[in-house]
Symmetry: C2
Subunit: 199 residues, 2 copies
């Protein structure tokens, strides 16, 4: 028995996962930090504890190069990600990249392994590392779209923030026609959680 | 005490309320009839009965000219809408138009009154007709956007269908920045209902 492949993503009511003008100083883009109020503001933060914990409850993670580097240039061999010495993953993280690089062992069970063979190779390695646990597609949006389009995602957990961004990057743009099944719904004033089964 | 101004709208997960190439023969646009499966397919239809009934539970309705005519030309004085002799509204319906026309009494309590004075005039007349009951913005998408942008909507009830359309008309495009509050969430496999308080 193997685990499922899931992805958590927070989007605005008009579908944006990032605002306009994303940069090194403003990786989420203008106005988009408000998307995540449900994770950081009480009383919603406490009420959403289970959903927040579930985001990092996986046996292995896959991350796109933009999420790992956020514009620093993936050729920077000294860069060890945004998450400090003890990242919140506590499991192997497979980073999609074009530049081969040695794996890095971080504290607390997190490791970064750089995969140059594409999304299917990364998934194969992540599944092997996860054993019978789930594999999480950690982001960013382009990586999520690639796995969705390829039919490799089992479960999409959307966290819909009650705001409009009006412009920026839409999580689900260009994925094409897709029919899902809503299997669970819950929420607080600052977010609506919907779990979708993809296949 | 007066009622609230509410609007029900069904959208895809990527925000579309209509598909591409809307026409007289295909008023919802390509692929968009599937948006409304939650209203017509069992067992979801029965499970969603309360949400379906609530759509027409108002003391008066406001409807855009495109929804009333769907491309027939609003100058067609013989046209009495798409809903037959006994429309499902059972209350006064105020139709936004550029062409003055006599009101029409239909069966079952529905009447169509044509308003040439704009959205605020229509709302004023609808509020007067509704008494202490609610006023519903029946659609279409452009009319909903006008009321949202003008700050005249109290409650937006989105019905999010678990599918991607990829192209068509986005309900919330061009409304600008807007922060809402999610006050109620529920759903079935074919839909997620979220009620938002706008102001």
């Amino acid at each position: 028995m193997t685990g499922k492949v899931f992805c958590d993503a927070t989007i605005s009511l008009d579908g944006f996962s990032a605002g306009p003008n994303q940069s090194l100083d403003d990786p989420l883009g203008e106005g988009a930090e408000r998307l995540h109020r449900w994770m950081f503001e009480e009383p919603d933060m406490t009420a959403n504890a289970a959903a927040i914990d579930a985001i990092v409850d996986a046996g292995a993670f896959i991350m796109g190069r933009n999420m790992f580097t956020s514009g620093r240039g993936e050729w920077d061999r000294d860069w060890k990600g945004w998450w400090g010495d003890d990242p919140p993953y506590h499991a192997p993280v497979f980073v999609l990249t074009h530049y081969p690089r040695e794996s890095i062992e971080m504290q607390g069970g997190t490791s970064y392994t750089f995969v140059t063979g594409g999304i299917e190779s990364a998934l194969e390695q992540a599944r092997a590392a996860a054993g019978n646990k789930d594999v999480a597609i950690a982001g960013g949006a382009d990586t999520v779209r690639q796995y969705l389009t390829a039919g490799l995602l089992d479960e999409l957990r959307l966290h819909i923030a009650p705001m409009l961004l009006g412009s920026g990057e839409r999580l689900l743009d260009g994925v094409g026609d897709l029919t899902l099944e809503a299997v669970e719904t819950s929420g607080t004033p600052l977010v609506t959680h919907v779990t979708y089964r993809v296949r």
